[in-house]
């Protein structure tokens, strides 16, 4: 089992990094570069705007991560216990399911100077032309930070909520408040230090993602210069073949950047531990954290509203015909964008479905095999195994995908479904694994023991007891897998040799076209597919277990 995972996960990443690394120091025999040198790095640094791109990457990546953590923690502190886990789960689902690219396309329209918000304000402000403001693609990267935050806050909320279920929050709160601490301070001083170790890896995933995001940065980020990851994509695809060397050097810089960010995070954690201990022991009982919590909640509510409006605007665009400035709604409507599936969306939808089903099934099978393996060996998971699962999410995609492409070409794998499924599974498997691990371990051991004492062998226990009881979390993990697969941009683009057009690759391509109506169709489908998967994960157990009350949603987890 471990061997399969090591071969399937670690090898491609290591080989990809190796290839990229070689090219980064000047060795790419295919274009006649064989000499080891630092020239690629020097060329990269000499590129106009390189330092700005680097700064932008840091500002947007670190900014979005910090903001997302603050907001998510604030919301949890303010709302925990005031809202049921099921209700908050249902509220978060559409935001988790909507792929980054679709969200970015919607936000781009919502926020742009000629967008929905500006159109709503135009009659009041007397604008006959869109105001001259840089509200998207702004040189400071604010729109990109906002876009990332809209997607990352729900993710962090989910992981924090799941971590909180392992901590006696209510008791801590009661104890803290009886000692005279405010709700906010109990959260900061008592609960967060316990939550942090449980969410450290997901936070690192958010950090790595925000520092190296491509699709969202293409759509919302500045363009002259763009962030490092977009700059590298441009170099990798430039007509001048020689630019692949500085591009590879840049991919190394990108990887180092993420590593440095992890190091900073770990330093902050250590500093926080020392300072925090002193602060907790000092015993101050200020009530001042409360307004901060409410501000975080209000800000998050605004972000959620923006996200919801962004998705709604995509749906409206897909049914519009003429929707000129400053109309708040389209002048004329049409089904034309939807009524020509032959023009591309049917094929893209088909490809997306095939890939989503295949990668999810593969990842789910591997995850179940791994977890069952742990059960049979009666062993918990070692720290390094946990890190192994997270590895693909922590290494920036652009750092190894180019090299991996060369490797796949050698194996004759590229351009087919196999290559894309493999590459996507690198990212789908970790999420499926993470989603399934906790519910799997939480399974009541008495059920399995009872089955065993009645004479059921290990296979029968797996198929007739564990899997049916765990149907809800398994389907939820599958829905997450589908959402992750649908959202994959770079792996599909690189490994599919452009031949496998999915809703995401098409939506990102179309986002640089002039037709928001067609883009609306793709983005709506792109967001609709994962939402449908979550819907199925909710409905199927409800139907199958309609006469098994304790197995219904929430019962098993």
């Amino acid at each position: 089992m471990l061997v399969t995972v090591a071969f399937g996960l670690v090898l491609p990443i290591a080989a990809g990094l190796w290839q990229t690394g070689r090219a980064g120091v000047g060795v790419l025999p295919a274009i006649g570069a064989t000499e080891l040198s630092l020239v690629p790095l020097r060329d990269l640094i000499a590129l106009p705007g390189f330092s700005t791109a680097l700064r932008l990457t840091l500002v947007t990546g670190l900014g979005a991560t910090a903001l997302s953590i603050l907001l998510a923690v604030g919301v949890c502190a303010a709302m925990h216990g005031r809202m049921s886990a099921r209700a908050s789960g249902r509220l978060l689902t559409p935001f988790l399911a909507a792929p980054h690219a679709a969200m970015a396309i919607g936000l781009a329209f919502l926020l742009s100077p000629s967008g929905w918000i500006a159109r709503a304000l135009a009659p009041l402000a007397g604008w006959d032309r869109p105001p001259m403001l840089a509200t998207v693609n702004d040189p400071g990267g604010v729109a990109l930070i906002l876009g990332l935050t809209v997607k990352e806050v729900p993710f962090l909320l989910l992981v924090i909520l799941s971590a909180l279920s392992q901590i006696p929050v209510r008791e801590h709160l009661a104890a803290g408040r009886s000692l005279g601490y405010g709700r906010g301070l109990v959260w900061i001083k008592v609960i967060m230090p316990q939550v942090w170790p449980l969410i450290r890896l997901p936070v690192m995933v958010v950090l790595a993602y925000s520092l190296s995001v491509v699709d969202m940065a293409l759509i919302l980020g500045p363009s002259n210069p763009p962030t490092l990851a977009v700059l590298l994509l441009r170099l990798f695809t430039a007509p001048d073949i020689g630019l692949m060397l500085p591009a590879s050097a840049g991919a190394l810089v990108q990887a180092l950047l993420v590593a440095a960010a992890f190091a900073v995070l770990s330093l902050l954690e250590r500093a926080g531990r020392v300072l925090g201990r002193w602060w907790v022991r000092r015993g101050g009982r200020g009530l001042s954290a409360e307004p901060g919590l409410w501000m975080a909640t209000v800000l998050s509510a605004l972000l959620f509203a923006a996200g919801a409006l962004a998705m709604l605007s995509l749906l409206i665009w897909s049914f519009a015909w003429r929707w000129p400035w400053p109309g708040f709604l389209p002048d004329s409507w049409s089904l034309r964008a939807w009524s020509t599936p032959g023009s591309g969306w049917a094929a893209a939808l088909g490809n997306t479905l095939i890939l989503a089903v295949a990668t999810t099934a593969l990842s789910l099978a591997l995850a179940i095999a791994w977890l069952e393996g742990e059960d049979r060996a009666r062993r918990g998971r070692a720290g390094w195994a946990e890190a192994l699962i997270y590895l693909p999410l922590l290494v920036p995609q652009i750092g190894f995908l180019f090299g991996l492409n060369v490797l796949f070409l050698r194996l004759g794998l590229t351009g087919g479904y196999t290559a894309v499924i493999w590459a996507q599974a690198l990212f789908v498997f970790p999420y499926v694994m993470i989603a399934l691990s906790d519910p799997w371990r939480a399974l009541d051991p008495r059920l399995v023991r009872a089955a065993g004492s009645l004479g059921a062998g290990p296979w029968r226990r797996l198929f007739t007891v564990k899997l049916p009881v765990l149907l809800t979390p398994i389907l939820t993990a599958a829905a997450i897998g589908v959402a992750v697969s649908v959202a994959q941009y770079l792996p599909t683009l690189f490994m599919g040799a452009g031949r496998i057009a999915t809703l995401t690759t098409e939506a990102v391509t179309l986002s640089s076209s002039s037709d928001r109506r067609v883009t609306g169709v793709y983005a709506t489908l792109q967001a609709g597919l994962p939402i449908a998967a979550y819907g199925a994960a909710f409905l199927i157990p409800a139907l199958l277990h309609r006469n098994r009350r304790s197995l219904q949603a929430g019962g098993a987890a």
Partner: protein
């Protein structure tokens, strides 16, 4: 008359062996699927490519799979990574819609299949005499390594409801932008269309435009572009967003025009404005204008990579694109509206009548209105312009 018939007999005699070769190509192509890598950002072009695929499938049993690129260079990169992996046959790219610098890069790296153009039966309708537009791509000799398929002319689009008198020369853009600050921009020069805008200005402003037809040297570049940068420095502060940000490509700029965020857009296709109105993507009042001295024009080509798995099928597609009926359909404003690359003098009466019968639209300029066609500078100028612009204005 007799001369013509003699010539045609001669032509038949000469083409017989070629025709036999062509039959071999047709036989080899049967059943192949051609992966045509082409920019996919234009719905009309996508639909046209799909239609061509239906045709070739019916006529030659060759189907087309349109690989939609957001940038042509993606296909070039793919061929390079395939060579990196030693994949010298059975490559994934069969046909590329290609432009100057990408063609130059592939030609210089020996990444192209050919020469094949003169073996295409329908090449007989194209003027391939030395120096003709279809034999040069950004002044780089084509030498049969890529086949023409559509004609491109640089034009500006404006909304006549907002703008009374658009600039009638590149120089005048400075005054126009000063009167209408923030209402004009151009695509990022890293993009083909943004670079073309700079080239259009260069061709008008350069002290000696003939120098532009030769490869740029350090000295000639500095000398010829000095007036351009002076002009651009005067223009830039009055551009959209103060010239600090630029639309990614001309499609995004067209959307800005449709949103009313700018007043002028640009295109490499004179018919695109009429087509965009037809599709509801521009207001009814959008019109085309060109500077009085004319604009840059060039021919779009398709090329076949050296390792293409379906090179025979790709040639069949390239040939079918030059079929007079296909070219007439392409020029139809209701379909694609791209000007044909065929030489009218080489067409028979029926084919010419098909072209004459094509519909027109108010926003569709006539060839006379478009004025003279200016030659593209050598490809090296575009690369240098893009780099120099980035060096000067990317901070």
């Amino acid at each position: 008359m007799r001369l013509i018939s003699t010539l045609s007999i001669l032509a038949t005699l000469i083409t017989t062996p070629a025709a036999a070769d062509w039959q071999d190509t047709l036989d080899a192509a049967r059943g192949q699927t051609v992966y045509w890598n082409a920019w996919g950002g234009d719905a009309r072009t996508n639909a046209f490519i799909a239609w061509v695929g239906e045709q070739t499938e019916k006529l030659y049993d060759v189907s087309i799979e349109h690989v939609r690129l957001s940038d042509t260079a993606e296909a070039v990169t793919r061929v390079i990574s395939e060579r990196a992996a030693g994949l010298d046959t059975g490559g994934s790219v069969d046909l590329i819609w290609i432009n100057g610098p990408n063609f130059l890069a592939m030609k210089e790296q020996d990444l192209l299949f050919g020469p094949f153009v003169e073996d295409l039966p329908n090449a007989a309708y194209v003027d391939l005499s030395p120096g003709a537009p279809a034999t040069l791509d950004f002044t780089v000799p084509v030498e049969g390594m890529e086949s023409p398929w559509r004609l491109a002319r640089f034009v500006f689009t404006y909304d006549s409801a907002r703008v009374d008198a658009p600039p009638d020369s590149m120089a005048e853009f400075v005054d126009w932008a000063a009167t209408n600050p923030g209402r004009f921009t151009h695509p990022d020069p890293a993009n083909f269309m943004g670079a073309t805008f700079l080239k259009q200005a260069l061709v008008e402003l350069a002290p000696d435009p003939d120098v532009l037809l030769k490869p740029a040297t350090d000295a000639s570049f500095v000398e010829q572009t000095a007036p351009l940068w002076a002009w651009y420095d005067a223009l830039r502060p009055n551009l959209w967003r103060g010239g600090e940000a630029f639309p990614e490509n001309h499609s995004v700029q067209q959307q800005l025009l449709n949103d009313g965020a700018v007043d002028i857009s640009m295109s490499f296709d004179p018919a695109s404005t009429a087509a965009a109105i037809e599709q509801g993507l521009l207001p009814q009042t959008a019109r085309v204008f060109v500077p009085e001295d004319g604009t840059i024009g060039n021919v779009s080509f398709v090329a076949i990579p050296y390792n293409a798995a379906n090179a025979a099928g790709a040639q069949v597609v390239a040939n079918h694109l030059l079929d007079p009926a296909v070219q007439a359909r392409m020029q139809n404003i209701e379909v694609l509206g791209s000007f044909s690359v065929l030489d009218p003098a080489k067409l028979d009466a029926a084919a010419r009548a098909a072209f004459d019968a094509l519909p027109t639209a108010p926003a569709l300029p006539t060839l006379e209105e478009l004025g003279p066609t200016l030659p593209e500078p050598h490809a090296s100028w575009m690369t240098r312009l893009t780099e120099e612009w980035a060096r000067r204005y990317t901070r």
